[in-house]
């Protein structure tokens, strides 16, 4: 009797998980469908949208956002937010800019120093979150405000303006420009090299998340910190490294920006932190952690890029963009909620 019960129960369960439910637990599915729908929608409204030029145009904002969205998604899956991620891009760019143009430091030494600086910021964020067990929301809000003040204060103090200029005068600028800000012509349209970097970040992020031990720990730390701790996952170390990964992304994006524009505003990155989170959430990351994907976050960034440019191509007022973004965010949150309920439902 007992043996048959076991087999019957097992068969019952296997049969219950159909194709639909198996797909539904793939976090990036929703954003993939969303991206296809939005592409089709604007393609119908505007021929330019799906021309090579149009594609190059909307991939551009998607790429910088996408790089940050991937790192922020990893952090969110690990159960935390980083509200200072946006300003850290500014901090990284300003640090490199000031060290080279005003203090004459070797460009590559300045890049290393600015990397050390933002990694230290990421470490402090992570360390404070781990030690105090306070919500990362409030810790990084504090860091956000501090850095916002620091970026402005230091820039004004050194330059007497609110921007750092003349970055194209520094040594090695040409090399940097070709690595971070050059364009590649495909089908007659100039594609930013940042798009390639975005793809690299997405692949590496996805690989780390799904194929490595560390990735397993990210899911565990975000999913249930106590359980993770009980089975020997180094929760503190994992959390701190995640904050430092986000800072690394900010370093990359901030420096790509100063190279491309040859100058950087002290206000750079303010408010972007929320856009990163929006992209990650549209990509299927749960606000509560433990679930999400790097590819999804990239698709979220793609949706952002397509919508922001698509509205222009469609000849609409750009004000509609925020409305669209908000609606998509709501839709994503609702479907994520459904996915989580499905995944967490228990049969007792």
């Amino acid at each position: 009797m007992a043996a048959t019960t076991t087999t019957a129960a097992a068969d019952e369960r296997v049969a219950r998980v159909g194709l639909f439910k198996r797909l539904v637990v793939k976090p990036e599915l929703g954003s993939l469908i969303g991206a296809i729908v939005i592409f089709a929608f604007f393609s119908v409204l505007s021929d330019v949208f799906h021309s090579a030029n149009g594609i190059a145009n909307w991939l551009d904002p998607a790429s910088t956002l996408g790089i940050m969205a991937v790192t922020v998604a990893l952090l969110m899956i690990g159960g935390h937010f980083d509200l200072s991620a946006g300003v850290q891009t500014g901090t990284a760019g300003i640090a490199t800019g000031l060290l080279t143009t005003y203090y004459g430091m070797n460009t590559f030494a300045a890049l290393v120093l600015s990397l050390v600086l933002v990694l230290a910021i990421g470490f402090i964020n992570g360390y404070l979150v781990v030690r105090t067990k306070l919500p990362s929301f409030i810790i990084t809000l504090g860091m956000f405000l501090m850095l916002q003040g620091l970026n402005l204060g230091v820039t004004k103090l050194v330059t007497n303006t609110v921007q750092v200029n003349n970055f194209d005068q520094v040594g090695g600028y040409k090399v940097l420009h070709s690595i971070l800000a050059s364009t590649v012509t495909i089908a007659g349209a100039p594609f930013q090299i940042a798009i390639a970097w975005w793809i690299v970040f997405t692949i590496v992020g996805s690989w780390v998340l799904l194929k490595t031990r560390f990735g397993n720990w990210i899911f565990a730390v975000g999913g249930d910190q106590n359980s993770a701790n009980n089975v020997g996952v180094p929760v503190g170390r994992t959390t701190i490294i995640l904050f430092m990964i986000t800072s690394f992304g900010a370093w990359f994006v901030g420096n790509a920006q100063i190279v491309r524009l040859t100058s950087i505003q002290a206000q750079t990155g303010f408010g972007q932190e929320l856009i990163y989170i929006v992209a990650a959430v549209i990509g299927g990351c749960l606000l509560t952690g433990g679930f999400g994907s790097a590819i999804g976050a990239s698709l979220g960034a793609l949706i952002f890029g397509m919508t922001s440019q698509g509205i222009v191509y469609a000849g609409w007022d750009a004000d509609w963009f925020k409305f669209f973004l908000g609606a998509m965010l709501l839709l994503a949150v609702l479907s994520n909620q459904y996915v989580r309920r499905f995944a967490e439902q228990t049969r007792r």
């Binding site: 007992a2 043996a3 019960t5 097992a10 720990w217 359980s227 993770a228 228990t346």
Partner: protein
């Protein structure tokens, strides 16, 4: 049934917290391939005993003998290394993660070299499926999130995990307390499975009807003291229940239990015997 060397012996173990005697001179033992049940109401000292056995607390007096040799457990890790695995009530599993990811959490097998060292997913999935089959469960899709499993199935994953990682002695902390009748029966079967694979099992519960069908030995605790340590041949279910309940409430409880007793004797015992 009662012969053979003890896998773990608990000798005169006491534990104080300040002036509170949490455990006083507790003795029992568990053999490989047998189940020792620790029964007691809330506050009886069950949790303290688990924590001593899993290395979280150190006893103030008395000692533990593993394979006849004195055993000192300074930490949970030391207990794991000695082959003592504890399955806690929360099971230490992450509901949103796939079964195979949970199974190897914190001890992921890797392949590859240097920066390309990666989580060996194929091996992990294969071993998870094999170990679950050994528990009598056919997990055809190890990618299922643990949260979609029933409470009993989750227990079995936790037990299978402990067995896979070299446990010789399994401590189960109230595995049936949060479960419905049917699921509790399933978990009892897993306990029997683990026993039949040659593991010593310490099964902590406050339910004599769950303990009696699977147990070979019964340690009864009440307010930190032992009410007795019996082999199955020395005690009946009725006696066990009476000891658990204690004098004053006995009448009323016996009345309440009259009907359930029959159920357990019939259904519970038969089910377990079938599984064996």
């Amino acid at each position: 049934m009662d012969d053979g060397e003890a896998l773990l012996e608990i000798q005169q173990v006491s534990k104080m917290f300040g002036s509170v005697i949490s455990l006083f001179e507790i003795c029992t033992m568990v053999r490989a391939g047998q189940v020792t049940c620790v029964l007691g109401d809330n506050g009886a000292g069950k949790s303290t005993l688990i924590k001593i056995l899993s290395g979280v607390y150190q006893p103030d007096s008395g000692q533990l003998l593993m394979d006849g040799k004195p055993l000192t457990l300074h930490s949970p890790r030391a207990a794991l290394e000695a082959g003592i695995a504890t399955v806690y009530q929360d099971l230490a599993m992450v509901p949103l993660m796939a079964i195979w990811r949970n199974f190897f959490l914190g001890a992921e097998p890797t392949k590859g070299w240097g920066p390309f060292r990666r989580f060996d997913a194929e091996t992990a999935k294969r071993i998870t499926r094999e170990e679950m089959l050994n528990m009598g469960i056919d997990i055809r899709d190890p990618d299922q999130p643990v949260g979609t499993l029933s409470g009993g199935e989750r227990q079995s994953v936790a037990i299978a995990r402990a067995v896979h990682f070299g446990a010789r002695l399994l401590i189960l902390d109230e595995p049936t307390s949060a479960l419905g009748v049917k699921q509790a029966g399933v978990v009892l079967k897993y306990i029997v499975q683990a026993r039949d694979r040659g593991l010593g099992v310490i099964f902590i519960t406050h339910n004599p009807h769950h303990a009696y069908p699977v147990g070979d030995r019964f340690l009864l605790l009440n307010r930190g003291r032992s009410l007795g340590d019996f082999a199955k041949s020395e005690i009946s279910l009725a006696e066990l229940t009476r000891l658990m309940a204690g004098g004053a409430e006995l009448e009323q409880l016996a009345h309440e239990l009259e009907r359930t007793e029959i159920n357990v004797d019939d259904a519970g015992l038969n089910e377990v015997e079938d599984a064996v």
